[in-house]
């Protein structure tokens, strides 16, 4: 009933864009001479992307007929995901090799990519924005 391929395409698209953005920004900081910032951004972005992939893989669990089972399983899932995103923050606090602020900023890469993607499409291609990777045709 649920076409898994469309969600997988979206996940691949945003995951790839987030990683590309992180590598691009990280390389910029590396060239400017801030290696710890580069490591932090990439670390945060990797976990942000993995969290997004995890979300999309478990999406169908939230859409189940049994309400109680769905609630419990998605709440446990939520807690596990938050424990997972806590890892880079703890790593950045414990090891000065990773810049803490850059890691925290990196955790929001997927959100930034989603917002930027939509605003870009909406304001610059408002007429014929159905092109590109993020189309609303199945």
């Amino acid at each position: 009933m649920i076409p898994a391929s469309t969600v997988r395409n979206l996940q691949k698209n945003y995951g790839a864009k987030s990683l590309a953005l992180a590598i691009f920004v990280g390389l910029g900081f590396l060239i400017l001479g801030y290696p710890t910032v580069c490591r932090g951004v990439v670390l945060g972005a990797v976990f942000s992307t993995l969290n997004f992939v995890w979300m999309s893989l478990t999406l169908h669990k939230q859409i189940k007929a049994d309400r109680v089972k769905a609630s419990i399983s998605s709440f446990i899932n939520l807690c596990c995901r938050y424990a997972f995103i806590a890892i880079p923050v703890v790593v950045a606090i414990k090891f000065p090799r990773f810049n803490l602020i850059a890691t925290i900023a990196g955790l929001f890469t997927v959100q930034v990519v989603i917002l930027a993607d939509h605003l870009y499409r909406n304001f610059f291609f408002s007429g014929e924005g159905e092109k590109g990777a993020f189309t609303w045709k199945n």
Partner: protein, 324 residues
Amino acid sequence: MTLDIEIGVKIATFVGAGISMGMGAIGAAIGEGYTAAAANSALSRNPDNAGDILKNMLVGQAVAESAAIFSLVIAMLLLFSSTPNPQPITIWAYLAAGLCMGFGAIGSGVGSGFPAASACEGMARQPAAGRRLTTSMLVGSAVCQTTSIYALVIALILMFFDFTKQPFGPTWAALMGAGLSTGIAAIGPAIGEGKVAGACCEGIARNPSSAGPITNLMLLGQAVSETTGIYGLLISFILLFKGFAATPDLAPAFGLVSAGLCMGLGAIGPGIGEGLAASSAVSWLGRNAEAQPILIRSMLVGQAVSESTGIYSFVVALVLIFVM
């Protein structure tokens, strides 16, 4: 004695981190659950459009989660970063930071559930407007996150600014008041803004041709709903940086905590009320596009009157800080 203070600071970090993460997760869980429920009903209504609905649900939940990630970051910073110079004031600062971020994340988590839910339902009704719906949903839920960003800023100041030089006398109370003010004041505006964004998605689904005016009215309504949250932020900044004369008395200290509580609680009602007024105006703009100017006017008048009790709280908080 130093050992006691160290133990106290440890306890404060545990309690603060627990409150921050617990409340943040509750908000996100409610918002995501609401989205999932709406997506479920949308799927049953229009199974052919399942791909778009699921994509929208995923994107909406990913953005709605930011507030919970803020509180996660604060909780981890509280738990794992070391305190160089533990003092009695540090205990209060950490507790206040946890409370501030915890309360601040609830509203944003719940609030961003509304636009995501309405967008999923709208996509079942009007599949052609899908892209427009997702964009408005994202803008709406991004605005919902602003109050939790205020809470994040205040929590970070509470944790990393050095308050040890200031007299313990009323400063502990000023820090607690600052945390409560921004934290509790973030709940109402975020839920109200979420309601407005939800109505915007509903209106676009009903009448995709007037998506532009509807989105503009949504942003106007959200900006007005935000004001009481900004009062809370202002009171917090005054409490943090005014600098109070040392006093051993209880009364001035309780006055400062009370100022924070007053502004925090007082911002909830106007925030939600203004959100309700704006959401109704936005949703009726979708049905009756000709009435736009008159709807905007009556929305602003209604919101201005709802704002009054928030202003009373602001005034009482200022009196508690400056006159008492």
